[in-house]
């Protein structure tokens, strides 16, 4: 492009005017950032602990790869959620999208926990039924 070229009076019409007509977003205030920052810190700590817990299951006689995978997956999701929460505090302009990403990851961690609990409950019920059936068979 020629730098000495005279300005084109019609060029202004090409500017995207819509960018300034977006619905207003939200920038969290200092006290709100403090709450979110605290949540980010503890979520990070819990994520690291979750990974350590998974790694500890690999030590000893009852080592389980599935246990490791589940704990590491939950730990990574918590760390990702923590980083998104940290971005809410440290960046400007995209607070709500970062918060939504964090909440989405947190929701997935809770879903995994609920599914694991239901599976454990089913296993316990099956084990109890098996024991009862075994006892009934012995009596008869």
């Amino acid at each position: 492009m020629n730098p000495y070229q005279p300005p084109n009076p019609y060029q202004q019409q090409q500017y995207p005017q819509q960018q300034y007509q977006q619905p207003p977003s939200y920038e969290f205030t200092e006290p709100e950032n403090s709450v979110i920052g605290s949540c980010a810190t503890w979520t990070m700590i819990l994520g690291v602990l979750e990974i350590l817990q998974g790694a500890s299951k690999m030590v000893g006689k009852n080592s389980s790869t599935l246990n490791l995978v589940v704990h590491v997956a939950m730990g990574v999701m918590l760390i990702v959620a923590s980083q998104s929460l940290r971005k809410v505090v440290t960046t400007q302009g995209l607070d709500v999208p970062h918060l939504m990403k964090a909440l989405d990851n947190f929701g997935q961690v809770l879903l995994i926990r609920i599914v694991l609990l239901i599976l454990a409950l089913v296993l316990v019920v099956v084990a109890v039924l098996a024991v009862l059936a075994f006892v009934a068979a012995l009596k008869s």
Binding site: T29, C39, W42, R113
Partner: protein, 147 residues
């Protein structure tokens, strides 16, 4: 990367504070988390209650010092799921309030974040205490087995 439909276009830098109403897509994410947090909260409280009952039963049924020690450890350990479960339940309710009410989305969101932080904090502290206690106990057992 910003997911589509969340917040404004890049380059838009709004002023801090003020009022904000979450849109339908954002309410979907918040509502889903609210439901899961409430479910997990109820599950945690039930697990804690079962542990507490088991602890008391062991204390009464066994009757000796060992039974008292094991039962009281189980009963004390039951406090963590009960307390953090209470916070998860409260956080879930607050997240649902964000979705179901209008005009106070940000205060409800901050309330939910505080309760979520408390739940996570309790889990984290108990996990750290458990790890430290496990390491100390392991060291004591190892030292006793060597000596």
């Amino acid at each position: 990367m910003q997911p589509q439909g969340w917040g404004p276009q890049p380059g838009y830098a709004p002023a801090a504070g003020g009022s904000y109403e979450f849109n339908q897509l954002e309410n979907g994410v918040i509502g889903r988390l609210g439901g899961r947090a409430r479910t997990w909260g109820v599950c945690s409280i039930v697990i804690g209650a079962i542990m507490l009952i088991l602890g008391v039963v062991v204390m009464i049924a066994v009757g000796n010092d060992m039974g008292l020690a094991v039962g009281s450890v189980v009963a004390i350990a039951a406090l963590q799921p009960m307390v953090s479960g209470g916070f998860y339940l409260a956080a879930g309710t607050a997240f649902n309030n964000v979705v179901n009410t209008q005009g106070n989305d940000i205060p409800h969101m901050m309330d939910a974040m505080r309760k979520l932080t408390n739940a996570v904090r309790i889990e984290g502290i108990v996990a750290i205490v458990t790890i430290v206690a496990g390491v100390v106990l392991g060291a004591v057992v190892f030292a006793a087995s060597q000596g």
